[in-house]
Every structure is written in C-alpha cells, then in structure tokens.
C-alpha cells in the first residue's frame, strides 16, 4: 500500500485527549508525514482510547485501540507493508470484522450517535456528506410546521433529558401560545454526574444538534435559540461555537434561511456549575442572569418562559434524533423499541465495567445485555452487584433485576428512573450506604435552598447516613430515613427535591442488609466506610518493598526496607485512606 494514500483518523473527544491523542497524532506526523490525518469525536469506545483508524480511501478500514505514541510505529510499518499486523491492538479489519472488541459497536443501533466518531466535528462539509442539513432543507421546501409535529408524533419520541415527556405535545403547547417572539433552549447542562452523552454529541457532532434545534424551532415558531452548555465542557463550547459560525456561512442559520421567511439564530450561554440549572425554570433564571432558582409551575415555560415569552427546552439527545426522524420518517424511528418506549436510548457506562463508554441501544433491550454483551461485564474479579440509573434522581437496580427491559415503565417499577442515561456499574467494592450518603451530599449541596423540605430535609438525611457510616447508627434511623423520604418527595417545589430521596429509597429496598450490618454489627461489608474498617499488613505476604511506607500520607507505616514482613501499620495514626492497599503489589494489605 502507498502510505501517501492512507488516511489516519484519530478519536479526539475529551476522553481521547485524556488518553493521549495529541501525542499519538504527533507520532504519526513524525513517523509518517505523508499520511493524511483527520480527527473525529469519540466513537463511544472510551475504554480503548486512543482509537485510530487507518483507511485507504476505498473503504478498507483498519481500526486500532489503546494506541500510544510508542505503538504508532508498528501500525505504520504494517501499512507500509514492512511489518506484521499489530493484532493485539486491532479492533476491526477487512479480514477480521468479528473481533470481540468490535462487538461493542456491532451490538448497537446508532441514531442519535450516528455521526459521532465518524466525522470531524469542525467540518460542516463532512456533516453535509452524511445527509447533514438535508432534513431542514426538506421541511423548509415541503413541510408545514404541523406536518413536522405530526412526524415527530408518529415517531413517539419522548424527551431524553430525564422526565420523558412526549416531545410533540410540548411543542404543541408552545405553538398554540401567543407571543411576538418564541425561544428554544437546548439543555446542555448535563448535570447528572456519570452521564456524558450530551458532551459527546455537542463536541462530536454539533451540526446535528443545531439541525435538531432548527427543526424544533420551525415546528412551533421560535426565532431565537440558546444553547446552555456547562462550563466544564470547554471542547463542547468551542466546537459548538465554530459550528454555529459555519452554519451561518452556509445559510442554514440566521435570517431568512434558504430564502424562506423562517429565521432562527443561536447563542451559547455557558453554565456556571449548578445542578439545579438543568431544571427548566431554573435554567431560564440562569440565562436571565440570575441565580438558578426554580419557580412554581404553572405557568409552564411553553406559555411563559424566558423573558416572559413562550419557551421550549429540549435536551441535547432529544434534538440529535430529530434530523434522522425527519429524513427517515417517524415510522422508522418508532419501529425500534417497545409499546411504551420507542426508538433508541444512549447510555453512559462507567464504574466497575470492563468496557466503559457510550452505547446506544433500542429501547426494550435488557439491562443485562447492555452490561454483559456490550460492556463486557465486571472489570474486577468480583461479580457485579448493582447498577445505578438516573443519577441523583434515580436509584440502584440490583443484579437479580438485570433482566428488566429498558423502558420507562419497567425501570420506574424498580424504583430507579431512566433519567438521562448514566449507568454507574458497581461490584462488591461499593458500599451502598456510602453511595447513598454521596448522593444526598450532592443534592444537599445543589439544593437551591428555596424550599424547606429540600434544604433541611436532605441535610437531615445526609446527617443520618453519615451517622450510620460512622458506626453510630441505630435501627430507628432507618425509619427516620423512610419518613423523610416521603415528606421530601411530597413537599418539594421542583424535581431536584422531589427525587432526591430516591437513591436512599432504592438502596434501602434492595440492600437493607448493608444498612443493618453498619448499624447492628458496626461493619462495612464493602470495606469502604472509614470508621468501620481497619487496614493491616499480612506479614507473610509482605515483601518489604516499602511502597506503602512511602505512600502513607500520615506516616502511619513503619518497617525495614527489604526485610520481608517487617512493615506494620500504627492503627492510632491510620486514617484508612487506602493508599497502601492501592500501591501494594503483593496484596499484603488486608481491609476489614
């Protein structure tokens, strides 16, 4: 093969950069300056970053994973016909399309993510080459707003931001309400820790989101749009900003788009770090320059929203599905999924899972299939215990319910929620009481403080959970937690408070034994809660390497270097931070 006919495609989403994509690109430039290099967003296989494809332009693709600057030369050599195929890194090749590593993508149905990882997000022409801006041109040429809403109604898509409200119903509200000007807001706040599909879409396929915004805006008559993007996502802000500029130049954004009387423009607003700002009314307050405090609904934003005008707020993933729905038809979208939940949903897999990343599957897939077939199961030698869905508003689904199908109603029946699609996978090393405490600290911190039950109630719950984790819990505390759960759910103003107790409710339901072990036996079965565990050194396993002594931040470990079994931990000084456990190469540290 001629090296100068070869294209190198490097995944350069935030996760690719974290894994070292810049160095990989540098290595290609250095060792094979004749190859053309392109960068694309994250294809979703974050566990194999840096991902690099070598493509000969005739559709022959070789895809490699875990590429580093050191392994680049062997890849180049093979493609110049000078060396062997670097098999250990191979994910996909024309001769071997059935590799286990490739199953990750092969098992997915990608609609929202269809372009992410395939196109250069900074190139509008690459987006156009993949049917980009075809949908908006189509509706401007021969669809009325009513027809657009009808098509979206046929697709049965429900909002992917968490609440799952039918998209066309919301648009209809805004369509019918009076206003000289109407707004569309793209909710890119993605406050749920553990979910990152919106980041991936905003930075990896921004034009798709813009086109989705155009379709939504046309349907109910919005002329101004805001993209509210969290400030923690600098690359998303950058790529989205460039996309807006390029869309203007192409004439698909701005005044009188494609010579029609439809005008629509988008401004970016950077978030400033407040989870509650993902809530619609708080988000509006934040764009207006205020503290992001939710207000009572009604009036709903569709009637009276941003600057008092009719406003629709849609999630990034919801918007990303729209161009496909218009191009292929609502029926095609609805052919995926189940009666109650149509289409596909993107999930972010993270935690104790072998293959973490983004997956998009048809609704109705079993949780187990996502975790095992695609995610590859547990990343440790311990079995999976649960998966947390829906973040701070959601709950834990235990392993014995992994056959639950991914549908709104079925997931709600477990006590968790679909949410925005974060899946944090847990094995036995996660303590469910500690996890609940983590979520309650989160919601308590993030509560805007406007309503008493949310402000004080979540604080009380967190205090009770701390008490249990510290080993001072009593059985009455469980009842108190259950009562607070009911009260906070009933009395809070917005979704933050109404759902804040969910993580506690589900862990109490499925993992009550762990709470009881903390309370009755003063024991943390997962070995996490610092007050209830001790670290000791098994002297027969200690090789005397001294790593633990060097790492211990409080100098609680002493011993003689190179003398086997000489190291001991001073229990009075030990803070149970776990650093020794982490660095010990001979598994000589016991946690109990």
């Amino acid at each position: 093969m001629e090296a100068n006919n070869l294209n190198v495609i490097v995944g350069e989403g935030t996760c690719g950069i974290a894994a070292g994509s810049k160095e990989v690109i540098e290595a290609f430039r250095k060792h094979a300056p004749e190859m053309n290099i392109r960068t694309v967003g994250c294809v979703g296989m974050c566990h194999q970053e840096v991902i690099t494809e070598i493509n000969d332009g005739n559709g022959n693709r070789h895809i490699y994973g875990n590429v580093t600057k050191k392994t680049v030369p062997s890849i180049i050599k093979f493609h110049k016909g000078e060396g062997d195929l670097p098999e250990d890194q191979l994910i996909f090749s024309p001769d071997n399309q059935d590799l286990d590593k490739w199953r990750y993508l092969a098992h997915q149905t990608r609609i929202a993510l269809r372009n992410v990882g395939y196109l250069d997000p900074t190139s509008i022409s690459e987006y156009q080459a993949r049917d980009g801006y075809k949908a908006i041109k189509k509706i401007l040429a021969d669809m009325t707003p009513e027809q657009v809403i009808e098509e979206v109604k046929i697709s049965c898509i429900r909002g992917r931001g968490g609440a799952g409200f039918p998209t066309h119903v919301k648009w209809n509200f805004a369509k019918q309400s009076e206003g000289d000007i109407k707004y569309l807001i793209c909710n890119g706040d993605e406050g749920d820790p553990g979910a990152f599909m919106d980041r991936s879409l905003l930075e990896g396929d921004p034009h798709n989101v813009i086109e989705g915004m155009l379709i939504a805006a046309y349907s109910f008559g919005a002329s101004k749009g805001y993209a509210y993007i969290r400030a923690e996502y600098p690359l998303a802000v950058k790529n989205f900003g460039k996309a807006i500029k390029d869309a203007h130049e192409l004439g698909v954004l701005g005044d009188n788009i494609q010579g029609t009387n439809f005008s629509f423009d988008i401004k970016i607003k950077e978030g400033a770090g407040a989870f509650v700002c993902g809530e619609e009314t708080a988000l509006i307050a934040s764009i207006e320059g205020d503290r992001g405090m939710p207000r009572f609904k009604p009036p709903f934003p569709a009637i009276k929203g941003l600057f008092g005008k009719p406003t629709i707020i849609n999630n990034v993933e919801t918007l990303a599905n729209l161009p496909w729905i218009i191009n292929k038809g609502g029926k095609a979208y609805a052919s995926h999924g189940t009666e109650d939940s149509k289409g596909t949903k993107v999930f972010a897999l993270a935690g104790a899972i072998k293959k973490g990343g983004l997956v998009e599957v048809p609704m109705g897939t079993k949780i187990r299939d996502v975790l095992e077939d695609i995610g590859g199961g547990s990343s440790s030698d311990k079995p999976l215990k649960a998966v947390q869905l829906g973040g701070p508003s959601g709950g834990c689904v235990p392993e014995n319910l992994f056959d639950t199908t991914i549908e709104y109603a079925a997931i709600n029946a477990t006590g968790a929620i679909m949410g925005s699609g974060g899946m944090i996978v847990m094995d036995e090393s996660t303590c469910m009481v500690d996890l609940s405490k983590y979520f309650l600290s989160f919601t308590q911190n993030e509560s805007c403080g406007k309503c008493t039950f949310c402000r004080i109630g979540t604080l009380r719950m967190r205090e009770l959970l701390s008490k249990i984790c510290d080993g001072h819990g009593e059985m009455e505390d469980i009842e108190a937690l259950e009562e607070l759960t009911e009260q906070i759910k009933k009395s809070s103003l917005c979704g933050l408070g109404q759902t804040a107790p969910n993580p506690v409710a589900t862990t109490l339901k499925y993992f009550r034994n762990e709470y009881e072990a903390h309370i009755k036996d003063k024991r943390c079965p997962a070995g996490v809660c610092k007050s209830l565990i001790t670290h000791t050194i098994i002297s027969t396993d200690c090789t005397g390497c001294s790593l633990c002594e060097i790492q211990c931040p409080v100098n609680a470990i002493t011993g003689q270097k190179k003398v086997k079994g000489s190291y001991v931990i001073d229990q009075a000084a030990c803070i149970n931070c776990g650093m020794c456990f982490e660095v010990c190469n001979s598994k000589a540290i016991k946690v109990e």
């Binding site: 974050c46 923690e232 600098p234 320059g289 503290r291 993270a350 983590y438 790492q551 931070c577 660095v583």
Partner: protein, 170 residues
C-alpha cells in the same frame, strides 16, 4: 500567603468587559465568568467595579457569585488541579486522589485548598464527563484518567517539573 496571591485588577479591563458584554442584570453571569477566567477567582475590586459601573446591584452580583459553584471568592495558586467527584469517580476512588495530592502538596488544613507556596490549588468538581476513565483529574487544562493515588502524584510531579514548581513532600 493569600496576600501575595491577590490579583492586581486593572479597572480599564473590567470596564471594557462591561462595555462589551453588557451592563444589565442578564449580563451578571457572563461578566463574572470573564473576571474569573482572567484572575482565577473574583477579586473584590473587580466586583466593586462592576457594581459601580453597571445597572447590576451588589446583592445581584454577590447573590450570583455565591450561588454557582464555578465562582470562587478566594485567590488561587498558579495552577489549578480539579479533581472530579462525580459518581463514577467517587466509586472508583476519587477520595484517594484527594488524599494523595493534598499530601504531597502539604495542604494539611481541611479548610485550605492552596499549597503554602502558592503553586497549586486543589478544587473538587462534579463530573467532567470523562466517567468511563474514572477516576479523573485535570491539572491546568490537561485531563488524565484511570488514576490511582500514586500515579496522580506522578502526574503532578511531571507537571511541577515542567513548570518549575516546588512540591513540598516529594
């Protein structure tokens, strides 16, 4: 220590932002973001300049500045270390990254987040969206993932060496 870290604010820079970004209350967040991106925190002088030269009231400025977690009122060190404390990072050991970096920077007081020599400030943030590589931290603008306490220290030492910063407990 914090004395020496106070930023010197040039009034004309702040006035220029007010001109460009806006002087009504809907500009509060972007104005404070501009200030913070330059100084790393919100110096009091800059806040006063905004209050005196725009239609934004003092309670609005301070209300907004204290509401959002992005804004800080305390000066920062020369480099920021952001440790993710999102869910994925929490269950995979974000706490250990904290402990180990505080240890080598010798930040012993829990209330403190900046090293004595003004080199680094440690900040805890919610999810940077790199959850599949948890636990994750960002030094200056560089994201690293799949960390243990020990290699978090290594990453910091590398950064310190490149930037000629002294890290206390090496």
């Amino acid at each position: 220590m914090s004395q020496s870290l106070e930023a010197k604010v040039e009034p004309e820079v702040v006035l220029d932002w007010i001109n460009k970004i806006g002087s009504d209350s809907s500009s509060t967040v972007p104005l404070l973001q501009a200030v913070q991106s330059k100084y790393g925190y919100l110096p009091r002088v800059a806040m006063d300049l905004i209050i005196q030269n725009s239609d934004i009231s003092g309670s609005q400025v301070y209300g907004v500045a204290t509401f959002y977690s992005q804004f800080r009122l305390k000066p920062v060190g020369r480099h920021m270390i952001r440790i993710c404390h999102g869910t994925a990072c929490h269950v995979t050991g974000a706490d250990r990254l904290d402990t180990s970096l505080r240890h080598i920077l010798n930040i012993t007081d829990e209330e403190q987040d900046t090293a004595e020599n003004g080199s680094y400030t440690i900040e805890q943030v919610a999810c940077i969206g790199c959850c599949s590589q948890a636990p994750v931290l960002v030094i200056a603008d560089e994201v690293s993932g799949n960390l243990t306490g020990a290699n978090a220290q290594r990453a910091l030492k590398k950064h310190a060496k490149k930037n000629e910063e002294i890290v206390a407990n090496i």
